[in-house]
Symmetry: C2
Subunit: 445 residues, 2 copies
């Protein structure tokens, strides 16, 4: 049993609580008590301790593009060409090394679970690896070594666009049919500790309604999370309306995809009916604000979605930055930019998106809270850095959401294991591995 004593901790309320003792047995929290002086044998966590953060939408290999594409002109679609060029150069070995470093960066940012929206299944030209799940297995191994729990959202990706065949790069993504996708996924090893398998529909562009139905049925049969990119770009909506006479949300609904296990990623350009649909179905919406502004997607209707009954989660997606505090505050601040009014989402609501609801949408309903029986994920945030210095107990939660950065994450415990201590990953030289492995991948560029 290990004891962690937290100077301040967020137990789910409107403010932080002082002098909190969290006891951990194995990978779970066994007791939480408040108003307790620090026992001698306890690990002392200064600053503010939060539950583990969940990064609900990741494409790990996009990290290689950080700093290289943001200055570009054009749109999402021109950016996609650069991203495809990296995809075509990855192998299971090189992707393992790259992803391990990326998940290491996530751990250092306080992320204890990641949803990897994984569609880079096959070798160039669509050639199958001898283990057809070699890429997914590499990602699972990478997350495990980095100390981050993973939900592998194995993604069905069949078409280059509605009614068109996959291009040369997209052949690496495609299983050929939803049936083949399901067969491959069936061969994924059963879930081990800290690893879950979920499903994803890449988008209405890449998956037709019949195939969607197959994926949704698989997710239902396995009680697994089901994610999909939805309405990130107006062009996608238009193509969908032209082909099916309804919005992407309506197409997904008709295919039986929507439920409380469904997460719509981005959901930027929605109709009123779409918003109502997500609320009625108790879906989660995963916002990725730093990517959405980088790719000029626009600002999604997060307030109206939350009011409709949908839950929100957060993702760093293309990893322009990996900083869930930045994502959380952007949800509120983007609404301010469009409305000229403050106060759309409360601080506890933004923290819930980063923690409890993020974990829940990845199939970890037993994580993201400092409570008995939950996964023992603790993230301490410094309140004595130049960014956070000057706050008091009453303002600590607001400071974490609106002023802290990933650089303020000091100590991270994930599933009972210390992953980051004093701002350093306990196993990996994360920055060095990022440098080496990105250089290796980009060399042929």
């Amino acid at each position: 049993m290990t004891q962690y004593w937290c100077e301040l901790a967020w137990l789910g309320g409107d403010t932080a609580t002082g002098d909190v003792l969290v006891e951990v047995e194995g990978e779970r929290i066994s007791a939480v008590s408040t108003g307790v002086p620090c026992p001698e044998e306890a690990v002392r966590l200064t600053g503010l301790t939060l539950p583990g953060l969940a990064n609900a939408h990741s494409h790990a290999f996009h990290r290689a593009l950080r700093g290289r594409t943001h200055a570009g002109t054009g749109s999402f679609w021109t950016w996609r060409e650069q991203m495809y060029a990296v995809a075509s150069r990855l192998t299971p070995d090189s992707y393992f090394l790259l992803a391990r470093a990326v998940y290491g960066e996530m751990a250092m940012a306080g992320i204890t679970a990641v949803g990897e929206f994984h569609y880079l299944h096959h070798a160039p030209g669509g050639v199958r690896y001898s283990d057809p799940n070699a890429m997914g297995a590499a990602l699972v191994a990478a997350a495990t070594e980095a100390g981050v729990r993973m939900t592998l959202l194995d993604t069905c990706y069949l078409h280059g666009g509605i009614g068109s065949a996959p291009n040369q790069v997209q052949l690496q993504f495609s299983d050929g049919s939803a049936g083949a996708w399901a067969e491959r996924v069936a061969r994924l090893a059963g879930s081990s500790t800290g690893v879950r398998v979920g499903a994803a529909v890449h988008s209405v562009r890449a998956v037709d309604p019949d195939a969607m139905r197959t994926v949704a049925e698989w997710a239902r049969a396995h009680e697994a999370p089901l994610h999909a990119h939805v309405s990130e770009q107006p062009a996608e909506n238009q193509q969908c309306l032209d082909a099916y006479g309804r919005t992407p949300t309506a197409v997904l609904a008709e295919a039986g995809a929507l439920s409380d296990r469904f997460t719509a990623v981005h959901a930027t350009h929605l109709t009123d009916a779409d918003i109502g649909t997500y609320g009625q179905n108790h879906c989660t919406i995963c916002m990725c604000p730093s990517t959405e502004r980088d790719l000029a997607d626009g600002i999604g209707p997060t307030r109206r979605l939350a009011e409709s009954g949908a839950r929100l989660s957060l993702g760093s997606d293309s990893h322009a930055v990996i900083d869930l505090f930045e994502e959380a505050r952007a949800v509120e601040l983007n609404e301010r930019l469009t409305s000229n009014v403050r106060g759309h989402h409360t601080v506890p609501a933004l923290l819930a998106a980063a923690t409890r609801d993020g974990h829940a949408c990845l199939g970890w309903p037993d994580a993201g809270a400092l409570a008995v029986g939950q996964w023992a994920d603790l993230v301490s945030v410094r309140l004595d850095s130049v960014r956070t210095a000057g706050v008091d107990a009453d303002s600590a939660l607001g400071a974490a959401v609106f002023a802290a950065s990933a650089a303020d994450v000091h100590h991270v415990v994930a599933g009972g294991r210390v992953v980051v201590a004093e701002g350093r990953h306990v196993v990996l030289d994360v920055a060095g591995e990022l440098s080496r492995n990105i250089a290796a991948v980009m060399e042929g560029a």
Copy 2:
């Protein structure tokens, strides 16, 4: 003479240059050579070296509110009440201590010059200090001790609104008349090394057109920078239109305020004519994106302003964050959010706003570039942190603007003096001073 050898440096072009030797004599750069191996006696700056960053708009005392107000509801106007409460508790002594820590945080973020938009002139109730410039002198001393050059933008603030008297707190801001403002400013000590005095018109709310004319004449006679808050809020525009039948920009123009020494701060809600006016007069526009999104101001038309011929500079304003990389990228990324297209401002243009054009609008045309005769300001940015790792020489500038944070600033030389070494301020315990001095100020809250 000190030599600094830079692994990579930005010399003003589209990409960084390798192996740059910068020689410094006293407070100026005496030589810059490229393609030079590192001399034994040189200080070696790894990563990317930039010219000093200029923070063109600061209200130092707002730093006390970081983390405490962002979660609020309401608007700019409700936030202002909280800000006034802090203003009413400051004395020259306590403001000196607070500001020194805030400028220390700026130094650690690579800022070598600050424009302090200073209107907190008097004691509670408007009582004059025995030295009527005691507050301004405290700010100058604070910046000097923190190692940051200062332009004290001494601000004229007379009215509580158009046609209304100052309220109780605003009495601390008001000199009673523009003539009294000019008399007080005349008593400010002459400029010493690293300190300049400029003028500011708080806003059309606080300064009537006749008073504006007096301030503009003072600035012209002294060839000094002149700044003003302009069109931050739609309500301000409406009040101005109601009172004067023209926009704030047009009122300022008619008062003779606009020239290439004029900087409009925020300039969020402009007409087409306003934009043209700023271009024709070669004015600078100081954007403060992190504050503008916090206060729900909106997104200013930066692309159209730049196209009109206006220059851009950057400010951290209310210090919700102090990170000019974050401000620089937000100028581009906010345009993406409104247009759904990428590529409005180039990386060199965004860097120029953070460096050369920022310094110029503060009256330092001889700073903000790594070139002979310029102030010896050098800022090294780590390219081996988890945020920046993986970039190469070609992508270094893009990474600095789009991926780096203030936490990546490693070494700062300002006016030939080392101010920050290995990420630490060489004189001040900045985080500790922020904690102590903010607590002292907030105690009576």
